[in-house]
Amino acid sequence: MASFKPTKIPVYPKLGEKVTQETLYWKNYKAPVQIKEFGSVTNIDVSPVAPHNFAVTAFTRIHIYGPFSQEPVKTFTRFKDTAYCGRFRSDGQLLVAGCEDSVVQLFDVSGKVALRKFKGHTKAVHVTDFTSDRYQIVTGSDDYTCRVWDIPNATELTTYQEHTDYIRCGVTSKLNRDLFITGSYDHSIKLFDARVDKSVMTMDHGQPVESVLLYPSEGLLVSAGGRYVKVWDLLKGGQPLVSLRNHHKTVTCLCLSSSGQRMLSASLDRHVKVYNTTNYKVVHNFDYATSILSLALAPDDETIAVGMTNGILSIKHRKNPEESTELSGQHRRRPAYRVFVKGKNYIPQQDDYLVSKPVKQHLAQYDKHLKKFSASKALDTAMQSWIRQKKPEIPIALIKDLDRRGTLKNALAGRNEQEVTRLLNFLIGHLVDPRFTPVLVIAAEMMLDIYGSVIGQSSIVDRQLLRLHDLLEREIDYQQDLVEVLGMLDTVFACHLPRKEVPCLGVNRSNGLAKGETSASQPQFQAT
């Protein structure tokens, strides 16, 4: 006696993005913490030392946030105008920031008043950074110059006047105390060496450069400007490697994940894209509410901080692995009662023998009805509102099975107004879904056959039927259009593909050769 085989519910492939290891990794963040700043957040910098605080530059202030606090730990407000580019020194104790009023200020992270003020620029300073020996500062300004300053005596060491437009981004080398790179709105990226008085390398980005980024190895340089992100090989003298165009508005910010395996780019088009740095394919995408100006990633990708034009700072923290296991642990099934009849904390001994009981087959409610051959009841159970709405494949699989059993007509017949409306609603909802059409067309035909005689008796049913009619007409029009488009495409393809001649020897040559030649080799299939 075989057991009842339950109705097979087909699994339809989910449309949309594929779940990869990558998406799982980048989706494993908690809901973002949103903090409102006074103006647009132009720069976020992560402290390189342990608590990994964020220095968030927005309007005339620089706030420092702890890794988990929503309130600023510290605030620097001594700016006369908009502050720019607050950056930590590599020991995390000093912070430098430019300002719209051309004064560069150096702060102690624990203090409040500026330790040094560097005056010399004539226009707003958008770029500031420490060199890797920690005693000098590099700045870039809207007066087309970039300068190197000495911290102890607050004097200007060198001035480079090579750019012909605003300097809006720059980065210093972490390995060499003398090297730094600046990007400017004159489309060029220049590599300077503080030991010589002019740039040593120039690269043309082709767009106003918004952001530059050095790889940890410092062999590769990434620049962003316009819609492009470009990668340059510095060791080959600034040769372009790749040009990426994955955003549809200006890319504003770049950053590397801590492992160096992934690169993130943020753009005014409200997206943050994650690239694989080996093949430069986009592996993940984050969406934000408004245009993004700044982006930072804490070490080990613990936190993603994003600053936007409307002054909102969004901070996402990674989910702890312990928390997620704890959640799933709660749903784990407890052992069955019969196993623990000997007491709740009974530990099974080695020579204990568990007598296995035949496993009872669990059947869904509609399968139970099907087992009893009650078709109408089975359809009713499968048409319950939550199943109908959440899992339309169940009623459809059931309709298909009833059709196979030859009892679909019985199941559909003999319904009252309310039930007919429900069935028609379901048909209208799913009839034009190409996955369900073949099954539902049969059911729809049967419905019309059965209830054709009662048209006009109920206004609700009539209205539903009219809707069904409209739906079908529209669908037919669609299909017609699609066929036309297909025909056009075929023509286009046929014109553009090179025509390949198929060698057809069999036709050209006499296939049977000459009769006389073959007769010798012909087998004699005559049984005697």
Binding site: M1, A2, S3, F4, K5, P6, T7, K8, P10, L370, D401, D403, R404, R405, G406, P438, V441, I442, V502, P503, C504, L505, G506, V507, R509, N511, G512, L513, T518, S521, Q522, P523, Q524, F525, Q526, A527, T528
Partner: protein, 803 residues
């Protein structure tokens, strides 16, 4: 050319076991059923075939236990004989020659020395040109002579005009009357009064249901006849010894015809079965109470009960016998080869070497040709099967294995009357852990039309990727490729919107040939490029086959217009062609040989040839009547050595084919036949040897016990009988040892101790009480002491305890 007399076509396995109702012996240990030309004896517990009763020369049509001796059984056959067997030993005891084909046999314990048989009567000319065969029930008086063969028997007609089916006649209580049904008429014949009563039913009752009788059963203790009808009703007739005052009670549960009825021996229950494949048990006297045993798998054709009422047994339309323990649990299933409409090709599973074809609805069956046993059914459709007439069911129509047996592809389809074809392609992978195929990917609607051919590409080196090509009536062929865990479509090809009929990969997998009606196209599977086309009009391509090994440069094709062509792929030209109507062309996977089945004058001829040689290796005319469309080369387990040139093609593999009447046949050489006969004779001699061997003999043949353990349990005598013999054989008897001891008194110390130990053990077993006595280092003297102690009178001790 020489006539190949040393190769013969034989039936091979897979005979019907559901043709007639099986019989359970009175000890419920064996089940006998008619199967082709023999009677098979199965064990009811192990499901194994114990032995076959061979002797009839035609279809066996009935098996019946001899009422006066429960160890003997009658069988009847269409060869016109009734034979009496001792089924336990498989010995033919007597043959009674009747002379007419016999269709059924009955006996009653109250009619000594008489069996009743249904034999064809004279042919009555009804119309000018129609002959209707009439059957009559005849009493056959069996002579009590000791002759092996009895002829010229006394026959007396009992009932004229009965149905040939054994279900339609039954003996009544105490053998007083016999009842028969035919058409719409129930006939009861009383032996004592020699009087016949007939009862007629109307053609249709009420709403157009048919009243035709289908089967009959009589109550063993009561004057009640139950009849089954075409419309699913069961009638219980009473008072049928009156012409007018008879009554009947109607029971109705079945919705299709009742095919079999049976009362339990005590008459407390009535069992019925039909198309629904539900065994219904009606309580006699309280007919509203019924028990059901649902989902037995296929239409029930016969129901029988063992004489003690403990086992029920149902035969099913899919060549299956189910043994049911007291209507609760299926205890055993004896499954034969299911031979319905073979829609898939015959295939051989490369892993288990089993023959694979579609079996039960929605299943693939794996049938072991060596053991003549159905190994298992693989559920392809995985849907509840609805047992109802006139339903469009989902059928498995195509299946293909890859060369390693790792992967399996199946196609199932259902064609509703007024809707489009439902088609799905399923891909299975062999799972080492469960030793079965598990479903990998289901592709619903892989093509718009039915799939005409399907084949796997020969395995690549790494076994990681696999390619499957399916050709369909919609004019496309598709290549499916395994990418990671699932399969996806790799390429869709077509050729001038012609419908592809067949496809074939070359042995190394570098070429794919697809026959598009009249044109053969050759594709490169690596790039999916059309390489060339070959054509030999007129006539569509029916079969395509690449040559193998030394003939791999040839492509063979057959067309519907009686042409067998051989193309040379190096020159892309026709090498040779010959005009013959080849219905099936297939190549041996292990050699260059090809087999072509040709239809000529309603008969099938077989040619075996190599594409490169002008003369066929072997040909046989009139292999079987009708057309052969399914055949397969099955690789042999061991290479056969045959020097005869005409038999060499059978060395590596055997050729099996299905005839028009769905008989599985094969070709067998004389040498092989001799081998088989020899191995058959060997078994009984071994058993005989085992029974007569003395204990000493077993000692001298240390492998005997191993052989005893290897022999199937069901062919051995009872364990209780063997056990004592076996244990004794391991011991050294006392007498023997003592005589030995007397002879050789001058044994050295060590040897002496050893025998002493053995004797001590022997003694301790006899004593059964003294554990300490079996201490290992006991000397002979101690043992003698012990024996003396044992022999001592202990009555005084019990007396002491009593007071």
């Amino acid at each position: 050319m020489v006539e190949h007399a040393n190769i013969r076509v034989v039936h091979r396995g897979g005979s019907k076991i559901n043709f007639r109702a099986p019989v359970i012996t009175s000890d419920s240990k064996f089940l006998l059923c008619a199967s082709g030309e023999c009677v098979k004896v199965y064990s009811t517990t192990t499901e194994e075939c114990v032995h076959e009763l061979r002797g009839h020369t035609d279809l066996v049509t009935g098996v019946l236990l001899k009422p006066s001796n429960h160890l003997q059984v009658y069988s009847c056959s269409t060869d016109g004989t009734v034979k009496l067997w001792d089924f336990a030993d498989g010995i033919l005891m007597k043959s009674y020659f009747v002379g007419q084909p016999i269709h059924a046999i009955y006996a009653s314990g109250h009619h000594e020395g008489v069996v009743f048989i249904v034999a064809s009567g004279m042919n009555v000319c009804v119309c000018v040109c129609f002959f209707v065969e009439l059957f009559q029930l005849v009493a056959l008086h069996l002579p009590q002579s000791g002759d092996q063969l009895a002829e010229g028997l006394e026959l007396s007609a009992v009932l004229p005009d009965v149905k040939a089916s054994p279900e339609s006649i039954a003996f009544g209580r105490g053998g007083e009357y016999i009842a028969s049904v035919k058409g719409l008429c129930l006939v009861v014949f009383f032996f004592r009064k020699q009087k016949t009563f007939s009862f007629y039913l109307k053609q249709n009752s009420g709403n157009g249901r048919k009243n035709t009788f289908t089967c009959i059963a009589c109550h063993p203790k009561d004057d009640v006849i139950s009849t089954g009808h075409e419309d699913g009703k069961i009638r219980l007739w009473r008072n049928f010894n009156h012409k007018k005052e008879y009554t009947y009670l109607t029971l109705h549960w079945h919705h299709n015809a009742v095919s079999s009825l049976c009362f339990t021996p005590e008459g407390t229950n009535l069992l019925s079965g039909g198309v629904e494949s539900v065994l219904v048990q009606w309580k006699y006297g309280q007919e509203s109470q019924r028990d059901f045993l649902p989902r037995l798998g296929a239409t029930i054709t016969h129901v029988t009960v063992s004489p003690d009422g403990a086992l029920f047994c149902t035969s099913h339309a899919d060549n299956k016998i189910t043994i049911i323990k007291s209507c609760v649990k299926v205890s055993a299933v004896i499954q034969g080869l299911v031979k319905g409409d073979v829609t898939t090709d015959l295939m051989v599973d490369p892993r288990s070497k089993a023959l694979v074809l579609n079996g039960k609805p929605g299943h693939l069956q794996f049938y072991s040709l060596q053991r003549d046993k159905l190994l298992f059914n693989l559920d392809i459709v995985q849907q509840e099967y609805i047992h109802e007439l006139g339903l469009q069911q989902v059928e498995v129509v195509k299946a293909a294995f890859d060369s390693s047996g790792e992967r399996l592809a199946t196609v199932e389809e259902r064609k509703p009357k007024a809707a489009e074809l439902e088609l799905s392609l399923k891909l299975w992978t062999f799972d080492q852990q469960t030793q079965s195929f598990v479903l990998d990917t289901t592709i619903s609607a892989p093509h718009e039309g039915g799939i005409t051919a399907m084949c796997f590409a020969p395995a690549a080196v790494d076994h990681r990727t696999a390619t499957l090509v399916s050709a369909s009536k919609d004019g496309h062929f598709k290549a499916w490729q395994q990418t990671g865990p699932s399969w996806e479509c790799d390429f869709v090809g077509s050729y001038h919107s012609l419908a592809p009929q067949c496809c074939c990969f070359s042995a190394d997998g570098s070429l794919l040939a697809i026959g598009f009606q009249e044109v053969v196209t050759l594709w490169s599977p690596a790039t999916w490029e059309l390489l060339t086309t070959l054509s030999q009009p007129p006539g569509d391509i029916r079969n395509l086959c690449f040559g193998r090994l030394s003939c791999s440069k040839y492509l063979m094709g057959t067309t519907v217009k009686n042409l067998l062509c051989c193309w040379n792929l190096l020159t892309c030209s026709l090498e040779w062609s010959t005009s013959m109507d080849v219905s099936l062309l297939l190549s041996d996977p292990l050699s260059e040989n090809m087999a072509a089945f040709c239809t000529l004058d309603g008969c099938t001829d077989l040619f075996v040839f190599k594409p490169c040689e002008p003369r066929p290796l072997f040909c046989q005319k009139a292999v079987c009547p009708g057309t052969v469309t399914r055949a397969v080369f099955s690789p042999r387990d061991s290479l056969q050595e045959s020097c005869d040139e005409s038999c060499q093609w059978l060395n590596r593999s055997q050729l099996y084919f299905l005839s028009q009447h769905m008989d599985l046949m094969t070709f067998i050489t004389q040498a092989e036949e001799k081998q088989l006969m020899a191995s058959n004779k060997q078994v009984p001699s071994f058993l005989f040897c085992l029974f007569t061997l003395s204990n000493r003999c077993i000692d001298h043949h240390p492998d005997t016990s191993a052989r005893l353990l290897q022999t199937p349990a069901h062919v051995l005598p009872a364990a209780t009988f063997l056990c004592s013999m076996f244990v004794q054989s391991l011991l050294i008897s006392v007498e023997e040892m003592e005589s030995e001891k007397e002879e050789e008194d001058s044994f050295d110390e060590e040897e002496d101790e050893k025998t002493g130990v053995v004797r001590a053990k022997w003694a301790s077993m006899e004593a059964g009480e003294a554990a300490e006595a079996a201490a290992p280092a006991m000397t002979r003297t101690q043992a003698r002491e012990l024996r003396r102690v044992k022999k001592m009178e202990r009555g005084w001790l019990s007396g002491l305890l009593d007071c």
